[in-house]
């Protein structure tokens, strides 16, 4: 043909290891083996899916993702293919829709996601899914983030044709300590079954009953008690799996989600904090394929109650006399008092215990404070446990790596401090964000022997009770900052709610004390925000070079090689 281009698009694509695919009339190139659903979604031709989840095996059973598909006509033996002016073969559309999740793209394939055939197929499937569904959206926790609702606006009919009696199944079944099951709302996508089998490796969930009486259930004698059980609530596209913790607490459309990271261990699981009016309602995992995939452990997810608990410290407190109770004060008076008292201490008799739960910016300010005071006894409290070979790291501090980078060698000074407190060689102790009576192993009677104990923390602990001055800091949900996880990835904390009461971000408190102690270094006292402190850190510490608040992004950046890996992520990569 004279109009035929010299090089055909198929050859150009093949050279890149790709194939040409026409989606809704426009040609795109995708790597070989791309699923039709992923290809369509990536170019904005949305494909509705219930059962398909990129991290799980393909079930292909919901049939919601049906698309019209076409291929070049099959050639008679010996015939040569014909190409149009654009260099593509004509597409012969198939009379049957195919599922977009299980099928992969091929050269010269055509996909229509908005054609009559496609939308009729989807309308039919959606109608079926709603026939035995209880339609109890007003009291369903999933309402507002329910795929069935979402697709009903796209493919639902205004009237219903099903007027028969619905099939009754189990409701409100406590299938585990943290998850409830409603079998009537279930669309039997089996994402939960596949998650427990493939990701957790425990065969706990299965399907029982025949035909329309199919229902998700636990194996006899088992319950959904894995520490990862609540992920089934996240991946459930409808309201079948609900979190006992979040049930009936708040309509999801009132919640604001803030992307941030989890601080319960060194993994730094990416999360969203869901808040309304300064109250945290739930935490869900946020996808990051280098950190936590799409999952998070229940123990971390549910550890947020302390943020809005009555034990929170909301105002600075001082002890005016030995033996007197702590009484509230103002920030100005308290900081002046602190500075006055610190000036009286001999630097050799002062020690600082700082938490590796603080952000890099706070650690930087703590270091500035130590330098201003001339204190050399200075350490973090290591906190280790057992790795669960999934996402929970053996290091239970979220920022040990950052502390090592900013404070230098850590871990050896703590014993000296503990001994010094016991034998009286340390007379004053500054504790930043730790309860030293716990992991640090300094008993309360030893704390009582100190001349001076300054504590900064967000909640009341035995250490704050023993303190001479208590400075109310904030939790991870109330501040900006960065942390470096066990694998050397710097990640951002974002503020989800305002600091509770009169509490202030820890970096802010530390900066004020340092300034009032007489520091005149502009690199410390002029810092108005953690973002600016990060720039100072980037300028001073080699691994942080070139890092700024913006370029960390929502997925973080590897800044140092720790040699530590996250088992679940390694398994996921090996599967590919």
């Amino acid at each position: 043909m004279s109009t035929q281009p010299v090089t055909l698009p198929k050859d150009e694509a093949a050279a890149e290891g790709k194939v040409n695919v026409q989606i809704n009339g426009k040609w795109y190139r995708f790597p070989k083996g791309t699923r039709i659903a992923d290809a369509c979604n990536s170019v904005g031709a949305h494909v509705p899916c219930f059962c398909y989840h990129p991290k799980l095996s393909v079930a292909g059973s919901c049939r919601m993702c049906l698309v019209e598909q076409g291929m070049p006509p099959r050639l008679a033996p010996g015939a040569t293919p014909t190409y149009g002016a654009d260099g593509y073969q004509p597409i012969q559309w198939m009379p049957r829709a195919v599922i977009a999740c299980a099928n992969t793209v091929a050269e010269n394939m055509g996909i229509r996601t908005t054609s009559k055939l496609t939308s009729e197929a989807r309308r039919g499937v959606l109608e079926f899914l709603l026939t035995n569904h209880p339609l109890d959206c007003p009291i369903c926790d999933q309402a507002g983030e329910c795929k069935l609702q979402e697709y009903t606006t796209d493919y639902g009919s205004g009237t219903h044709r099903f007027t028969e009696a619905k099939i009754k199944k189990g409701k409100n079944i406590p299938i585990g300590p943290r998850v409830n099951l409603d079998q009537e709302r279930c669309v039997l996508c089996r994402r939960c079954v596949r998650f427990m089998k493939e990701i957790v490796g425990e065969e706990v969930l299965g399907v029982v009953g025949r035909g329309a009486h199919n229902a998700i259930s636990c194996y006899p004698g088992k319950e959904l008690d894995s520490n990862y059980s609540m992920n089934v609530v996240d991946i459930c596209p409808v309201g079948a799996m609900t979190s006992k913790d979040f049930r009936f607490q708040m309509r999801v459309w009132f919640l604001k989600s803030t992307p941030t990271i989890d601080v319960n261990c060194g993994t730094g699981t990416n999360i969203n904090i869901w808040t309304r009016e300064q109250k945290v309602y739930r935490i869900t995992p946020r996808q990051n394929d280098e950190v936590n995939s799409c999952w998070m452990p229940d123990s971390h997810r549910l550890n947020y109650k302390y943020i809005n608990a009555p034990e929170r410290l909301t105002t600075p407190m001082i002890k005016t006399d030995a033996g007197a109770p702590l009484r509230p004060s103002t920030w100005d008076a308290t900081l002046n008092l602190v500075v006055e008292q610190l000036h009286k201490c001999a630097p050799a008799e002062v020690a600082i215990i700082v938490s590796a739960r603080l952000t890099n910016e706070e650690l930087y300010m703590a270091r500035a404070l130590a330098r201003q005071l001339g204190v050399t006894k200075f350490d973090i409290v290591p906190r280790t446990g057992e790795s669960d070979n999934m996402l929970i790291s053996a290091d239970r501090n979220p920022n040990t790596t950052g502390a090592k980078l900013i404070l230098g060698k850590t871990g050896t000074g703590l014993n000296t401090i503990r001994r010094g407190v016991k034998n009286g060689s340390i007379r004053s102790l500054i504790v930043l964000g730790e309860d030293v009576t716990a992991e640090a192993g300094i008993p309360e009677q030893d704390l009582a022997e100190l001349d001076y104990l300054l504590v900064m923390d967000h909640s009341e602990t035995p250490t704050t009770k023993a303190a001479d001055v208590v400075l109310p800091g904030v939790t991870f949900a109330e501040k900006y900052g960065t942390m470096v996880n066990v694998a050397g990835r710097i990640q951002r904390l974002n503020k989800a709610i305002e600091p509770v009461g009169d509490s202030r971000p820890d970096w802010d408190i530390l900066r004020d004390i340092t300034q009032r102690l007489g520091c005149d270094c502009p690199r410390v006292i002029a810092c108005p925000s953690p973002m600016i402190i990060l720039e100072e850190i980037a300028a001073e510490f080699a691994p942080f070079e070139g890092i700024n608040w913006g370029n960390i992004g929502n997925e973080g950046k590897v800044i140092t090689d720790t040699g530590v890996t996250i088992p679940l992520i390694e398994r996921e990569k090996a599967k590919k």
Binding site: S61, M64, V125, V187, R210, A212
Partner: protein
């Protein structure tokens, strides 16, 4: 053949050709290996095992043998789908989950002539080089399971199974696996899941084509009982001789199971295409019962589309001219009936005379399919009980004329959108019945029913929807 005597009343009709069913209901014949060998059994195996496996496949391809499970896929071609350069073990599975309503052919083979199947299986296993094979037998054949177990043991004792079969160096183990009573286990990928110990949810294709990814992820050939017996016939007679007999595109004999309203229902083995539906029903089966006339025929098991006996079909004469014909003029091969919108499937012919109410027949079928849907994919799981509820309302006189169209529309929404062919199997009857016997359905409906709440649940709901003022 004159020496073969059959039980009284079970004698073959002169127009039959008994090959597979040669020993069924034969006087003095029993399922023992001695009886089979005396009758020339395992001689074909001796001939086959001396051949090259590729030659056996070539012979079966040459014969044009097509699968007898219902889909009619060429058996020899299926065998060649095992990936080239495959290093995994190959498995062969005999599908003896004969559950299609109206189909009863395999049950006679496994009850009365098990060694015929075993011999066919050994030949097929040798051809595809499978050293492990499974007979998947439906739960409802407990007696056959005993017989088959004993037959397998006898075959092993005679070295037709086990190590180094007949000194050829070929090893084969055949095990019997019993289902638990589900129609869907007859779907080959559901069957494979069932053998693996899982729910018999059919697998999605692609990627799970059994010949590539089958039992335990290995290439697996799934063949019907009758197909495997036919393989023995092909080797016995030679591929070319086999291909020469019967219809050109579906050679060999076929076993037809006739049930319903005829004078002599039963099984009949005929040369494919050698007679028409009319000859079958009037000549062999004796025509309709006294005083009755034929009304409808389901030509290939419950899921095939029903044919009206007074339906006018168009056929082509040898000279190319078009002629009008009826279902009785359609020859009984695998393809002819497909041209008229139905299928000959597994050979189960269900006949209904003018005493039958078609909505009731459909409701009966719908009850079967609603019970047997596996529930994996949405259209089939939710559509089948809906169709059943609608057809139940129609036969109870609680439906409105619109419900007939709704019933058809529900079937249309299932068809072609499911994981496996069950979607077609369950929707075709409804599509055909409501289209071809629409007047019978409409006669049972009343327009006023559209205004009525026809179940307590809806009645309750209506209380809150209707305003008193």
């Amino acid at each position: 053949m004159s020496e073969i005597k059959y039980l009284p009343g079970k004698e073959p009709h002169p127009r039959e050709t008994r090959r597979i069913f040669r020993n069924i209901d034969r006087v003095g014949y029993n399922p023992s290996i001695a009886c089979f060998i005396k009758d020339g059994g395992y001689e074909t195996l001796k001939k086959a095992i001396a051949m090259e496996p590729a030659d056996i496949i070539g012979e079966v391809k040459k014969s044009g043998l097509r699968g007898r499970g219902g889909a009619g896929f060429p058996t020899g071609v299926k065998w060649t789908f095992i990936p080239k350069g495959n290093t995994k073990p190959v498995y062969l599975v005999c599908n003896c989950d004969e559950s299609e309503p109206g189909t009863f052919k395999d049950r006679f083979i496994v009850h009365q002539d098990p060694h015929q199947l075993i011999e066919g299986m050994i030949i097929a296993c040798y051809a595809v080089q499978a050293h492990f094979a499974v007979i998947y037998m439906r739960e409802e054949f407990p007696e056959a399971a005993h017989i088959m177990k004993k037959a397998l043991q006898e075959a092993e004792e005679h070295n037709f199974l086990g190590k180094n079969i007949l000194g050829s160096g070929f090893d084969l183990k055949i095990v019997l696996h019993r289902g638990a009573g589900a129609y869907i286990c007859g779907e080959e990928t559901g069957l494979i899941n069932s053998i693996e110990g899982m729910r018999p949810y059919p697998r999605i294709k692609p990627p799970f084509f059994p010949a590539a990814i089958g039992l335990y992820g290995c290439p697996t050939i799934v063949n019907n009982v009758e197909s495997l017996c036919q393989v023995r016939q092909v080797l016995m007679r030679g591929g070319e001789a086999y291909a020469a007999e019967g219809a050109q595109r579906s050679p060999g004999t076929r076993i037809i199971g006739v049930s319903g309203d005829v004078k002599r229902p039963g099984y009949y083995e005929i040369i494919s295409g050698s007679l028409t539906y009319g000859e079958l029903l009037y000549d062999i089966c004796g025509g309709p019962k006294r005083g009755r006339t034929f009304k409808a025929i389901i030509p290939g098991g419950a899921s095939a589309k029903v044919m009206r006996c007074d339906e006018k079909l168009t056929g082509r004469n040898p000279d190319g001219t078009v002629r009008e014909m009826s279902i009785f003029d359609v020859p009984m091969d695998l393809d002819s009936i497909a041209q008229h919108g139905s299928m000959s499937g597994s050979g189960g012919v269900i006949v209904m005379d003018d005493s039958r109410s078609m909505p009731k027949v459909l409701n009966n079928l719908n009850r079967f399919f609603a019970w047997e849907s596996c529930g994996q994919c949405s259209p089939c799981r939710e559509g089948n009980p809906w169709m059943l509820k609608l057809s139940t309302r129609i036969i109870n006189g609680q439906a409105s004329p619109e419900d007939v169209d709704l019933l058809k529309s529900v079937a249309d929404n299932i068809c072609g959108r499911t994981v496996c062919a069950f979607g077609e199997a369950c929707s075709w009857p409804t599509q055909a019945f409501t289209t071809k016997f629409r007047e019978e359905f409409l006669a049972l409906t009343k327009p006023i029913n559209a205004q009525k709440a026809h179940n307590p649940e809806t009645a309750e709901a209506r209380k809150f929807l209707t305003r008193e003022d």
